[in-house]
């Protein structure tokens, strides 16, 4: 155990010396590659790229409202990125954040609709604990299958995403539909008592963003400093070695999947309560997959996901500015997201090749 620890330490200090330079280099190169790629895309359309990129930045950051909306989008993306990055620390590649998001919102809403504990603080507690549980349970299905049967977690989480979104559709079009709202397919509105404070008056930006950032920091510190973080690193790089050193593969798979799911579930209930005000169909939008892109671009680094989540939030929230000012369809933002992702993959891959 000691030998392992010191090996780890040595690798870390060595890596540390180069990390700063390499990180800066890859970030700069990736940004450049993205700018070139998106400029090419706009040029193919016969549109001048610079004004369009300006439009995008203006839409995302050009006004207080723009910034608040960018951050509103950042919040669920950040949660979903953390939910994807944590299992990835064990080498698990899940794309299930959107399903966990839905099941978190689902169970959290169930707590509100079916339990009505007094005083209010219990309601808040049950709704949020329920949401974490919902996400965790959903994620644990894939975790269980992975830990015990080696079923590929990527495919299992993918399939469960479809099931989860249909389960939300089922309740909002069926048993949970608010009878007082003229048959509109949504549940009753959440009372103000379960809502978090907003950060800027009159905007939709809520304290969930702070929770997400705080969670990122906590995860970063815990993974870097604790014995658990070490266990994950060893199990990831060499499972047999890790198991030999006394770390449980099964328990750790179950743990990272459950925690990841709980984080995504939290995102789900926050969107339902704070942004939509109720459970509705389709509220996960593209957060799950965008979170995956962010986690991957950040190299599963819990702090690096933050600026990248802001960048993706900007691309998502500014897409309607492109529709309004440049008559470009909403799919433009999806194309740009994928170009950014590919740019990061390419520069990261090439740098890694250059190193070896």
């Amino acid at each position: 155990m000691n030998a392992l620890g010191s090996l780890q330490e040595r690798r870390k200090s060595l890596a540390h010396r180069f990390a700063w330079f390499e990180g800066a280099l890859s970030a700069t190169l990736a940004t450049l590659a993205f700018l070139v790629a998106s400029a090419l895309f706009f040029a193919v359309l016969g549109r001048a790229p610079i004004p369009l990129l300006l439009e995008l930045v203006e839409g995302a950051f050009g006004s207080a409202y723009g910034i608040s909306e960018t951050l509103v989008k950042t919040t669920p993306i950040l949660f979903c990125a953390l939910a994807t990055a944590l299992p990835a620390r064990l080498g698990l590649l899940t794309v299930g954040a959107s399903g966990q998001f839905y099941m978190g919102a689902w169970l959290g809403t169930a707590m509100f609709l079916y339990g009505d504990p007094q005083p209010t603080i219990f309601l808040v507690l049950t709704v949020f604990v329920g949401a974490c549980l919902g996400g965790a349970i959903w994620s644990s299905i894939s975790g269980f299958l992975k830990a015990h049967l080696e079923v590929n977690e990527t495919l299992a989480t993918l399939l469960l995403n479809y099931v989860a979104s249909l389960l939300v559709d089922w309740v909002v079009y069926g048993p949970w539909r608010d009878p007082a709202n003229l048959g509109w397919p949504a549940t009753r509105s959440f009372p103000d008592s379960v809502k978090l404070p907003t950060l800027i008056d009159g905007s939709r930006l809520h304290a969930g963003l702070l929770v997400a950032v705080g969670l990122a920091v906590v995860l970063h510190v815990v993974l870097a400093r604790s014995r658990w973080g070490l266990a994950l690193r060893i199990l990831k790089s060499n499972r047999a070695l890790g198991v030999g050193a006394g770390f449980s593969w099964v328990a750790n798979v179950a743990l990272v999947m459950a925690i990841g799911g709980a984080i995504a579930g939290l995102a789900g209930i926050l969107e339902a309560t704070m942004v939509h005000g109720r459970l509705q169909s389709g509220i996960a939008l593209n957060y799950g997959i965008t979170g995956f892109l962010v986690a991957w671009m950040a190299g599963q680094h819990m702090l690096r996901v933050i600026p990248l989540a802001v960048a993706m939030g900007a691309l998502m929230s500014a897409s309607d500015a492109l529709q309004l000012f440049a008559q470009l369809p909403e799919s433009t933002s999806i194309v740009l997201q994928s170009l950014l992702f590919i740019s990061v993959l390419v520069t990261g891959g090439l740098l890694a090749r250059g190193r070896s």
Binding site: A88, G91, L92, L93, V95, L145, L149, E150, V151, N152, T154, L155, A156, L158, L159, L160, Y162, V163, L166, L167, D169, W170, Y173, G174, K236, I289, F292, L293, W296, P329, S331, T332, I334, V335, Q337, S338, L339, F341, I342, L345, V346, G348, G349, L350, A352, R353
Partner: protein, 308 residues
């Protein structure tokens, strides 16, 4: 007789649903046999559906549409090939990139084609046969894309197990290292496997838009490409088993629609979860069997087990 007719109708409905899946499934089988997984088939399928429909609108010829669909998806699969083979990025991350890129680009360039009309394949005149019970429905279902899928199924099954090319492909997937020492051009085989998989997934998308639905709308594949990736494992990387695997999904989907028309008092949303649950169930079953009986290309197994 009545019950036979109903069962046949459900089976044929399942066959229609299975056809686009079968193309994608065969393509992904070829790709994974070379040790590369490609989640990007969803995006490739979408690009094939878009290009196929667009080319049919422009030329009026559905065969050109199928070719355009295959070509467009092949080009898109080049992105995956470059990312996996040249840049050496993680194959699952690269697949997601291709998935999102294909979906975004097809949605973007597909806008002018929404609401356009195509005529699709002209059904041959079967004369009095078409009114015969059982025979009529069968003939009606066997459209050119269904037949082509069945032909490709047989050809690929033969190719993989009965030709030198197939042997090389399997060798690369089992162990690229030992294949290289045997004198196989590993990189070339991998490239061909990814591009071949791309072409087939594009055909699957085009079969959907040009023949079955005769309509185009963004994201119209609704996850079918991803389902196909799961079904590859169920079919144990064996092209012969691709047909039953695709049929299983198709028939369950057909059955859920059929159950709605019977007035089954279950939410249609819950019924719609069945195909995915069945897919997951057989996936798990496939893993259990693969563990006891093998079948997964060894290099791929490593990639699946260790995703970093």
């Amino acid at each position: 007789m009545e019950i036979v007719g109903t069962l046949l109708a459900i089976f044929l409905s399942g066959l229609r649903g299975a056809t686009p899946l079968l193309y994608v499934l065969l393509g992904e089988t070829v790709t994974e046999r070379a040790g590369i997984a490609n989640l990007g088939v969803e995006g490739q399928m979408l690009s094939g559906a878009f290009a196929g429909f667009a080319a049919t609108v422009v030329t009026g010829n559905p065969w050109i549409g199928l070719m355009a669909g295959a070509l467009c998806a092949t080009l898109l699969s080049c992105v995956h090939a470059v990312l996996c083979l040249v840049v050496k990025a993680n194959m699952f991350a690269s697949g997601v990139a291709v998935w999102v890129l294909g979906g975004g680009l097809s949605a973007f360039f597909g806008i002018p084609f929404v609401g356009r009309r195509i005529d699709g394949f002209v059904a041959p005149d079967f004369g009095s046969l078409k009114d015969m019970p059982l025979v009529g429905p069968l003939l009606r279902t066997l459209t050119p894309t269904v037949l082509l899928a069945l032909v490709l199924w047989a050809v690929l099954g033969w190719f993989l197990y009965r030709t030198r090319g197939g042997l090389r492909l399997r060798a690369v997937g089992e162990s690229a290292e030992s294949a290289a020492t045997m004198g196989v051009a590993v990189m070339r085989v991998k490239w061909m496997a990814i591009l071949g998989g791309g072409a087939l997934s594009g055909l699957g998308g085009a079969a959907l838009s040009v023949d079955q639905v005769r309509n185009w709308i963004e994201w119209m594949t609704a996850g079918r490409g991803l389902v196909a990736v799961g079904l590859v494992i169920v079919a144990r990387w064996n092209p012969w088993l691709a047909l039953p695997a695709a049929l299983l999904f198709g028939v369950v989907e057909a059955l859920t629609l059929r159950m709605q028309t019977w007035g089954v008092p279950v939410s249609s949303y819950l019924l719609s979860t069945f195909p995915y649950m069945v897919c997951l169930a057989v996936l798990v079953w496939g893993y259990v069997r693969a563990r006891t009986r093998g079948g997964m290309p060894k290099d791929l197994a490593q990639a699946f087990a260790r995703t970093e």
